[in-house]
Symmetry: D2
Subunit: 254 residues, 4 copies
């Protein structure tokens, strides 16, 4: 990682990034044609669904026990490679409120992370809320009203369903002083959540478009997402557990 002249991390295949996580995920069905405009041709959209997931991460081992929040906007995708298909979530964008994981995510695995302020969950049971903003301008509000905890066999099923968090990143590094790219690769990045508790509930998303002056580098992303038709909310879920990332297992898809 830059700066490289101070020495780098040891490439240690036994190392896993671990953190406690609270996840609030709202999935909606949208129009396939609208959504496919943002899916690169190398990928296939498995379903016209978008998931917006707040992740509140704490006790992060590779950040010295620190914390950060992210909002992942992703779709179910497939990469049809030479060695067969790879299914994973394809992130349209990830907003994070800390720079260090943005840099590692972009440069190591092509995950399209950008910055936003993301409030820790406000919790007034059974009400949960967060807001995502850029330099004082709110562009996404998430609310959740929890129903009861999921238990028994339903919990076992939920643990299985919520476990996989594999991502496909598109690592794109531009040429210097010229149009085009020096690197343009699709990367499979394995990660998963060991869910301990989960709650169903009613989630809502409210987007607010921003002007160029309010958010000069991201306004087109927000507009694209805010414009997607919401046919119906497919699922809203709140889960707590542990998230594990294994950067050394990432690989370029071919």
């Amino acid at each position: 990682m830059m700066p490289a002249h101070f020495g780098g991390d040891i490439f240690d295949t036994s190392y896993q990034a671990r953190q406690k996580a609270t996840t609030l995920a709202v999935t909606f069905e949208t129009d396939r044609a609208e959504l496919e405009r943002y899916i690169p041709e190398e990928l296939e959209l498995r379903a016209p669904e978008v998931q917006v997931a707040l992740n509140q991460l704490t006790e992060i081992n590779w950040l010295g026990g620190g914390k950060y929040n992210l909002v992942l906007v992703s779709v179910p995708a497939r990469f049809n490679g030479k060695k067969g298909p790879v299914d994973a979530a394809y992130p349209l964008v990830i907003w994070e409120n800390r720079t260090a994981p943005i840099l590692t995510g972009r440069e190591q695995t092509g995950v399209p992370k950008i910055f936003a302020d993301i409030e820790d969950l406000h919790i007034y049971r059974p009400h949960y809320a967060t807001s995502v903003s850029y330099e004082g301008n709110t562009f996404l509000s998430m609310q959740f009203e929890a129903g009861g905890p999921i238990t028994g066999k339903d919990l076992e099923r939920a643990k299985l369903q919520l476990r996989p968090l594999d991502l496909i990143g598109w690592r794109y590094i531009p040429k210097v002083g010229a149009p085009g790219a020096d690197l343009s690769q699709f990367i499979h990045f394995p990660q998963w959540m060991e869910v301990e508790m989960a709650y169903t509930g009613k989630g809502t998303l409210q987007w607010t478009e921003l002007s160029v002056m309010q958010n000069p580098r991201q306004h087109h992303i927000i507009r694209a997402l805010a414009s997607l038709t919401v046919k119906k909310i497919v699922q809203s879920v709140l889960a707590e557990g542990e998230v594990i990332l294994d950067t050394t297992q990432a690989r370029v898809l071919e």
Copy 2:
């Protein structure tokens, strides 16, 4: 830039990034051997000097009129290429308090930018002060006591001396799931300051080393810089003016 699927910026060679700048730069002489440990072999150290420069940038055209601060730690370097030598500052590290310019700087031109909180200058004339910290832990304090403004021919000379801000970046993009790099290039990135006012004065730097837990990703950089012998302060200067960057004129050094 990632995410690439929402469309990118047009590569427009007539576009220049412009911003108002207040610069507080303190340059010290150090031990050559100590310093050369951090200079890659492709570069030659022109003088055993380190400049630590706060830049407070406002009215930034490519950020919609927004602002941010940076602290640039650099040395005078030479790249001896096939087409002759290129002289520029080689940044050991740049701390910035906003993520968007960190991403463009790293990915487009290999400038080793990382995040820190950087206070706007506190100004109680003739005293100026700023502090640089990471998650509540101060690691650099800069003070400056201004003498009088530089005027007349001295100002003309200062304008010439302070004008060049060209950087040599080392763009290093790691391999995926393996040690080593997919890209490792030296890049010349032209920029300059049109100085309007300048003041001599007495500058001081105070480093505080941090523990791994206080700053897990940067503690070794801070320790390296804090450990450099300060033989003498060579120059302390405060300047105001405009800084212009021309990313489209950046080129890979060979």
Copy 3:
């Protein structure tokens, strides 16, 4: 000031609080009856007008050269006292993004200051913008498009018009463990601006109401202000200069 056991400031009548200021003020005419609901009976409303003024303060002498921003919402008022009428602005609310001046303002002079995040002005000439938010939820956006600078005799007139910033505060300290007040006083607090530059232009205000959960202590204030009829914008002005406060000249109105 609390804590009192560490010793207090000396009461020094020669001391004036001084700071550099950039002010963006938008004044609108509203309905008198609507507005009078928020004016205590001890005061008379001189005109059914509300001014919303961003103040960006820097080089603040009593804060060691630090800075902060405030948004003052005020009306022209009169206190008809035993010694004759006192005219000044009556602040309905002042949002500030730093706690220290909130405490002195409330406890020393009854100025109703509360906290919000207030962006430094984004300046993309001739466009100026700021946003005011609470824990990630925007509730006020201000924009300004500057016309030319005011010059000559118009500037002299503007300097006189913009100079007085006297406030009438209502210092209200509640009883302990019971309804009602231990102190309820009207206070005259002299301050003024020495204007150096001023620009006319076109200002706009956009309020966004927040839910109880988004802003539990202020939502009713925002709703009250957002609900005021805007009959017309009376004046929009941007000014730069110095603001001087003289707390020792404050006095209780009788």
Copy 4:
């Protein structure tokens, strides 16, 4: 509470402020004469001990489910009133990272709250750390290395010992435009913690004095606390549970 003209809270004696709390408290023995310099004559110091306690508060009912952190520096005190003695902690200072509870604490119950940035606990088990800073300048670092959880009868004893959090505040509201006070009262403010888990361990405190320019309104408080002799660490404990405050039960001590 100011502003009073928008209407106030209903005085409801059935209302209790509730919040989840993680507390990290380090108590040290100091020199009695040194400490008594900061104890007003109306109070008696019960033991020459100072407790420094981080409180990380979440799911706060009166803040819509929001959160904030505080660092309470207090001593065991006694008020010998007409109706007999009242024992409680006397806070020398409380730093909080949110303004709303600072205002209610100061104005309603005389608790000497002032602002600082306070990091959420970094947790890399068994290591816990936080830093307290002002505008980028760290002045207090707390570390804790947890031993095992307290269990069985020891836990029952710890619950009893850690339960009382009653404070005695000194509400001091200055005169307007003159030296001296309009209000100067001692107030008893009942609160308590319902402890669920507790850990012994080894805690450390590291103070860093700041210059007037780095912290113009608090530097003397930090210097006073940093100068206190630490004879020995009496207790270090980490606890989790719920904290309940009952403002309506506060009363002026006579």
